[in-house]
């Protein structure tokens, strides 16, 4: 198990730009099926073999149109689950309570899940660990169905909203439940996305959990953009973390950096095993991933998956 060295990120498709809402809206205008297929084709030509994405409303609308294509099927998949936005729209104006209820409600889709939740809300409140497992089952069933099967799903990451909330509130054991269940039940690489990497590393150490079988997706760039509490502390955490793999995101600092400068920095961070970069335009994909070719061909730390 491991993670591909180069991952294509779905932020341009999902309408996410960590540095600019205007840019995210502008890029959304180019999100058409032909452009997406061209994106996959170009990225594949640049040696990219992994795709990481959230199962948000827009992605769910697009996947039926692209999942059978040769372009999409050439990629290993690393979804982030669950996606709150999907449940938020079902929850109407009830927000947190509604989201939880919608999520629990959705669990009855699968036969096994239904059986697990026969006790309904009281069952969930008494057995949060079972609820987490049932939620993973339901979300992964969605992933497998929408992405054309399970064989190309190589790893699963928990989105930063859940990871960072759990870390802040001292619920590291729930994170361990997530990664443990994904590994044991599905034999997949299990990962956590965070914007507070040192907190994750220190919380795991304090609770005496090991990160040796946990992949982490977190910002790394020479500007320290979204690296909390600081670039220096994130780099120090990288040295002591000993994760299964570290997938760097925000490597271009939200578009503030030329790809060459970003690649040079990433090469200097020996604990970084993969990078995930979102780009939609072929020229941008080529320029960006070509800059990371030497990173892609270096042996890298353990945790790198080779095609």
């Amino acid at each position: 198990m491991g993670v591909d060295r180069l991952l294509l990120g779905a932020n341009p498709i999902s309408g996410v730009d960590h540095a600019s809402n205007e840019s995210a809206r502008f890029r959304s205008e180019g999100v058409t099926v032909p452009n997406i297929l061209r994106m996959f084709r170009t990225a594949h030509e640049c040696g990219v073999r992994g795709f990481t994405y959230s199962l948000g409303p827009r992605m769910l609308r697009l996947l039926p149109k692209i999942s059978a294509s040769q372009e999409f099927r050439a990629f290993n998949l690393y979804p982030l689950i669950p996606n709150l936005n999907r449940f938020r729209s079902q929850a109407g104006g009830r927000y947190a309570a509604g989201v939880l209820e919608a999520m629990v409600g959705s669990l009855s889709w699968g036969g096994k899940t239904k059986a697990l939740l026969q006790g309904g809300w009281s069952y969930v409140t008494r057995n949060p660990r079972q609820a987490i497992r049932a939620a993973i089952d339901a979300e992964l069933a969605n992933v497998f169905e929408s992405s054309g099967g399970s064989e190309r799903v190589m790893g699963v990451f928990l989105p930063e909203f859940f990871t960072d909330a759990a870390l802040a509130l001292g619920l590291t054991s729930l994170l361990e439940e997530f990664v443990g269940y994904v590994r044991r039940r599905y034999s997949l690489t299990a990962g956590l996305q965070t914007r507070n990497f040192p907190l994750l590393v220190d919380s795991y150490a304090r609770e005496r959990y090991s990160l040796a079988e946990v992949s982490v997706m977190t910002p790394f760039n020479p500007l320290g953009f979204q690296m909390c509490p600081s670039r220096t502390e994130c780099e120090a955490a990288l040295e002591r973390a000993h994760c299964q793999s570290v997938v760097a995101v925000s490597v271009l600092a939200g578009g503030q950096l030329p790809a060459e400068q970003a690649a040079s920095y990433i090469r200097s961070q020996h604990g970084v095993s993969s990078v995930a970069i979102g780009a939609l335009r072929p020229a941008h994909i080529r320029e960006t991933f070509n800059a990371f070719q030497s990173f892609a061909t270096e042996p890298g730390p353990p945790g790198v998956s080779r095609p």
Binding site: G15, V16, H18, A19, S20, N21, E22, S23, A24, R25, S28, E29, S89, G92, G93, R94, Y95, A96, A97, G98, V99, L100, W121, V124, T125, R126, N127, P128, F161, D164, A165, A168, L169, G170, L171, L174, R195, N196, L199, L223, G224, F225, Q226, C228, P229, S230, A253, G254, Q256
Partner: protein, 345 residues
């Protein structure tokens, strides 16, 4: 021990989306600690107890204050309960600060009553107008305050989002507590009052697209005693605004500016320097956040919450207090009345 000399104890009232965000941030901000969360939804509290065994959870504000002993509470309940929750919190007489998520109250009448309570003592108050913490917005306001625009003459502004794409229920879709103006437009009203003060005259119209009981779009023209005239547009069913977008442009006698969440740009008047026209001055928010101790939700949420603890700890920080927010509520009320009278919906 004075509150400024020790860690500030924060309690959260309301376990909705904003309650969770504040709970997470205050639990990690240096100088503050989370002492408990209260929610009257017993099912939600029961679920949270099952998941977060170490987190003190309460079913009432009284329990939170009596047992959690917070220095301050953050009120994140539905907007139509803000007034009663703040009054109940104020009656406890032990709190040094109250932070209310926006709006302070649904009506100016309720908002000014709450502001009156707070104004009678040394209570630190804050209302959740987090957009003030965005670097580009801070810079734009500074250019205006420093007189770089000369005399502001007219502005255009909008905050549009694509969040509501079908009829919905809940308090944000109830006429007494919801609508696009209270959800998004109120942030814009706050920023404009922060920049220019309250308007003298208000005209407005509104429209519906999906909602059955509240406005999906509102537009208002504001006129100020100084002669400044401006336009506000706000809506939550603009399909091309995912993510949402905030923009203000101001034109003055010496210069113009544009500001969004991404950047602020100052366009100096180049007529005086024909040989070497002055270049626009640009500040990008992405490069100006500075170092954050912890990141959750948006960076402005973290900075704004930090301003509350700074204020409580006597470390300065200007912020929209209850009195200011009551003024914002007055303008929002005037806009609502104007579009209701216009018969546009």
């Amino acid at each position: 021990m004075n509150v400024s000399d020790r860690t500030i104890r924060i309690g959260i009232v309301g376990m909705g989306a904003m309650g969770l965000i504040h709970a997470v941030i205050f639990s990690q901000l240096p100088g503050s600690t989370l002492v408990g969360v209260a929610d009257t939804n017993k099912r939600l509290v029961s679920l949270a107890r099952g998941v977060a065994k170490k987190l003190p959870l309460f079913e009432t504000l009284d329990q939170l204050v009596d047992e959690g002993r917070p220095d301050a509470v953050v009120v994140c309940t539905p907007a139509d309960t803000h007034a009663s929750v703040v009054e109940a919190a104020h009656r406890k007489h032990v709190l040094k600060g109250i932070f209310v998520e926006k709006p302070l109250a649904n009506t100016h009448q309720d908002a000014s009553r709450i502001a009156g309570l707070a104004g009678s003592g040394s209570l630190v108050t804050l209302v959740g107008f987090q957009k003030r913490s965005i670097p580009s917005v801070v810079q734009a306001r500074r250019w205006i305050a420093d007189g770089l625009l000369g005399e502001p003459r007219f502005f255009r502004s909008h905050w549009l989002a694509g969040h509501v794409d079908r009829p919905a229920t809940g308090w944000k879709h109830d006429p007494s507590s919801g609508g696009a103006l209270l959800e998004f437009g109120i942030h814009l009203v706050d920023l404009l009052e922060w920049m220019f003060g309250p308007p003298k005259h208000v005209k407005a119209s509104a429209a519906r697209l999906h909602s059955e009981r509240v406005e999906d779009f509102a537009a208002a023209t504001l006129e100020y005693a100084s002669g400044l005239v401006g336009v506000i547009e706000t809506g939550w069913s603009a399909r091309n605004y995912n993510p949402s977008g905030l923009a203000i442009e101001v034109h003055g006698t010496k210069a113009s500016l544009t500001v969004s969440e991404d950047r602020a740009v100052l366009y100096p008047d180049s007529r005086a320097e024909r040989d070497s026209p002055a270049e626009p001055v640009v500040l990008n928010s992405a490069s100006a956040w500075g170092s954050l101790p912890f990141l959750f939700a948006n960076p402005e949420n973290v900075l704004f919450d930090r301003s509350f603890t700074d204020h409580l700890g006597g470390r300065g920080g200007s912020a929209p207090d209850f009195e200011f927010a009551a003024g914002v509520s007055l303008t929002v009320d005037r806009i609502r009345r104007a579009f209701e009278q216009s018969g546009g919906m």
